[in-house]
């Protein structure tokens, strides 16, 4: 066992204090007792702060209050609204599951469900693949590494509406820069109608969402990569592992916890996305790009049917809950 250096130092200090103080030993002890008693009294005064079970609640309280005010209350209100026929300015009355039954009869809604899954699925895969690739590249040593890392965050930092407006121009039917390039390179005879064709419109909104989300994946995964101890790779090198084997057996498993958290966030945010679609297509053409959030917004605000709008957005909840449960369960099992 190592000698406790600190306590030895302490004792030395005390002894030298005593030596310097020119007090008798009894006086010195008396002062010390007094000090202890004072400390005890202070402790009594602030007793409830010292008791961990109370202090814990106090420290957690602000977070809980914020959660209740801004998450739980709106959520409960949303559930209640979805069970009423409330419109703006009218107290709604309870209608049970009528709104949900109505919505399920609407083909626009069914198409929205399909759109949302396609949008979330494809965009998330793209973000994951490109984000991971980018993280692996950025994890290497090269010139201007910091500058590149910082500038890569730009799509993520610029307000979504602004950058999406720029994309809107790039997809413009008449002035699309993509079309200009494709036509001038001789690849196409005439430009594509990016936002006017149902499939191309979906491709377009997915591209923009992925473009915006890739930096988030890349930076988070880069942080994860840097926590992997280099000696694992050295050991693998000794065993003659190739770079794919190293990625598959070391990088990926070690990255899994970070990867899952990033995935959870991304799926939730993409599933509930609003801005990209609202700016680019407003759900068109003929509803081929409507998502839950954009449809709910139109029904709830443009026609004032708050109950029905709430019901549409609540349809997101079971799916998101499932995602969270599965992923949290996985993370817990890993630990």
């Amino acid at each position: 066992m190592k000698p406790n250096v600190k306590s030895v130092e302490n004792q030395v200090e005390q002894v030298s204090d005593y030596a310097d103080s020119k007090l008798t030993s009894m006086e010195y002890v008396g002062l010390a007792v007094k000090e202890i008693e004072e400390k005890k009294r202070d402790k009594l005064k602030s007793g409830y702060l010292e008791r961990e079970n109370i202090l814990a609640y106090i420290l957690v309280a602000p977070a809980v209050i914020i959660l209740v005010l801004f998450i739980a209350y709106p959520f409960v209100l949303g559930v209640w609204l979805s069970l009423t026929d409330k419109t703006v300015g009218h107290e709604g009355s309870f209608v049970g599951l009528q709104n949900f039954r109505n919505i399920l009869k609407s083909q626009i809604f069914l198409q929205t469900v399909q759109n949302t899954f396609v949008y979330t699925g494809v965009a998330t895969v793209l973000k994951l693949v490109f984000g991971l690739a980018l993280a692996l590249v950025l994890n290497r040593q090269f010139k201007f590494k910091r500058l590149v890392r910082a500038s890569m965050l730009l799509p993520w930092i610029i307000p979504t509406v602004l950058s999406t407006l720029a994309w809107l121009w790039m997809f413009d039917a008449t002035f699309s820069v993509f079309n200009w390039i494709l036509v001038h390179l001789g690849i196409l005879k005439r430009g594509l109608v990016w936002l006017g064709d149902p499939h191309l419109a979906m491709v377009s909104v997915i591209i923009v969402n992925a473009w915006r989300g890739i930096p988030f994946f890349a930076i988070s995964l880069l942080a994860g990569l840097q926590t992997i101890p280099p000696d694992l790779y050295e050991a693998a090198d000794m065993d003659g592992a190739g770079s794919f084997a190293k990625f598959w057996h070391i990088t990926l498993p070690m990255l899994m916890p970070v990867l899952l958290v990033v995935l959870i966030f991304s799926v939730i945010v993409t599933f509930a996305d609003f801005q990209v679609v609202y700016v680019l297509t407003r759900g068109g053409p003929s509803n081929s790009t409507h998502l839950f959030a954009t449809l709910a917004y139109q029904v709830a605000l443009a026609s004032g049917r708050l109950g029905e709008g709430a019901a549409i957005s609540l349809f997101m909840f079971p799916f998101l809950l499932l995602v969270i449960i599965v992923q949290l369960w996985y993370i817990r099992r890993e630990q």
């Binding site: 703006v88 300015g89 109505n102 002035f175 006017g196 064709d197 759900g283 068109g284 003929s286 026609s303």
Partner: protein
């Protein structure tokens, strides 16, 4: 300044006496006094009118505040004029008036939160049929609306229909931004067309000639709140198609008239229209027209106004016309603007006075002149205004208001009609057919969605 108003409206009640501008105030009061038309309404105000020789400010509104929320006008100087008028009125009345302008797209969210929280602007500018959507949050304004109605020789049908909710005026009709066929006169002449096509068959014929020369017509069928419904609804009506019967309950889209309209749009799409139109928003056709890609599009006067400022040579080649007629007649759908006073407002009296001031003809017409006919008055009175003599290219907008109908036509423009509009159901029936779905199936889809909306 107000003299014109007096002559035009000798039969005003005493309550109205208190609002107008300083210059004509005295003469005006004397006029009304001598005319002996003071009908006793609110006693205090009556007393004020009878005893004070100068401008009477209703005691109830002096020292109060008034907040008006409206869109940022596409003609910015028009907003400056409103601010100037508000300041002028505020000074006279001792009322602090705030004019707030925001993007038209954000108005509905603001209105909804204002009504739900019971606090916000005293007066809110509404568009389209919003008075129907927010009727329970608005004060009855029959008194103001009826006075304005008299001033402007009645209201145009569309703007009356959206403001008059179940027997009461829930908003005061304000102005109409008319949509007209904006076309290249020079290119039309090149193919031997002197006059804009009067019906859809001619429209198709002319359009085909121009598209063959690489100068198609342009029309959006995307999800965009202005231009898409402004074309789709009146086009459908002109064939005799309708989304719902007059009762506002029985969905009536599935008809041979609708079928005819949808089949014809597929032909138009192929023969006449620029095929990128499915992606267009409200600004795309402006850009396409100004960059000389298309020869005709339905729009407000904004294309012409921009051309006049930036491309004067092009402006000389632009003209406007009403929409072609169909078998069932000629129709239009315009963007209408109304002012509603919210019922949480603690200053309803001042709000009413202020709206009367804004709608007072000298004030309104000053604003109207600044907007150069981009907006027209809610009633036909403006049709005799000298402004229309100034620019023959704007003439089509003069009486376009008469042709306007509200969404849901022939039923009232209810919340369900709004939901149908906001879900772009009518627009999408056409869009689906254009994208290759059979017209019958597209109509069936629309009818089933409409039944869902109308809960029938």
């Amino acid at each position: 300044m107000n003299d014109t108003n007096i002559q035009a409206n000798p039969k005003q009640e005493d309550k109205e006496v208190t609002y107008p501008g300083i210059e004509g105030g005295l003469t005006r009061r004397q006029f009304i006094k001598t005319a002996g038309l003071i009908a006793g309404a609110a006693l205090t105000e009556g007393a004020l009118v009878a005893t004070t020789p100068k401008i009477a400010v209703p005691a109830v509104i002096k020292g109060t505040r008034l907040h008006l929320l409206q869109w940022s006008n596409f003609v910015p100087p028009a907003d400056d004029e409103i601010r100037r008028q508000a300041a002028e009125w505020g000074k006279q009345m001792g009322v602090e008036v705030t004019i707030e302008t925001i993007n038209a797209n954000d108005l509905q969210a603001r209105i909804a939160s204002a009504i739900e929280s019971g606090t916000g602007p005293d007066i809110v500018q509404m568009l389209h049929n919003w008075p129907y959507l927010y009727a329970s949050g608005c004060v009855d304004v029959d008194d103001v609306a009826e006075k304005v109605e008299k001033m402007y020789g009645g209201f145009y049908k569309q703007i009356r229909d959206v403001s008059f909710v179940e027997g009461r005026y829930k908003a005061v009709p304000y102005h109409i931004v008319g949509a007209a066929m904006t076309y290249r006169e020079d290119w039309f002449k090149e193919v031997g067309v002197e006059k804009f096509p009067d019906n859809w068959d001619e429209y198709r014929k002319v359009g085909k000639m121009l598209k063959d020369k690489g100068r198609p017509f342009g029309q959006t069928f995307g999800h965009t709140f202005g231009d898409a419904p402004a074309f789709a609804y009146p086009y459908l009506w002109s064939f005799g198609g309708k989304e719902v019967e007059e009762d506002g309950k029985t969905v009536a889209l599935d008809s041979k008239e609708t079928l005819q309209a949808v089949e014809f749009i597929v032909a138009l799409w192929k023969d006449v229209f620029d095929e990128t139109g499915l992606s267009w928003d409200d600004t795309s056709n402006n850009r396409a027209f100004l960059s000389e890609q298309i020869s005709c599009t339905l729009n407000g006067a904004s294309i012409y106004f921009v051309a006049k400022k930036q491309y004067p040579e092009l402006a000389k080649r632009i003209n406007h016309a009403v929409m072609p007629a169909g078998p069932a007649g000629r129709f239009h759908y315009h963007v209408t603007f109304e002012h509603a006073i919210m019922n949480y407002s603690k200053n309803v009296e001042a709000a009413k006075e202020f709206l009367l001031f804004l709608m007072d003809k000298p004030n309104f017409y000053k604003w109207f002149e600044i907007a150069e006919g981009y907006s027209v008055a809610p009633g036909p009175d403006h049709e005799n205004h000298p402004l229309w003599q100034k620019d023959p290219r704007m003439l089509a907008f003069k009486d376009i208001g008469k042709l306007g109908h509200a969404i849901g036509y022939p039923a009232p423009p209810t919340r369900s009609a709004s939901e149908a509009l906001s879900k772009y159901i009518i627009v999408d029936v056409f869009a689906r057919a254009i994208q290759g779905e059979s017209p019958k199936k597209a109509i069936e889809w629309g009818a089933s969605e409409l039944r869902n909306v109308y809960k029938s």
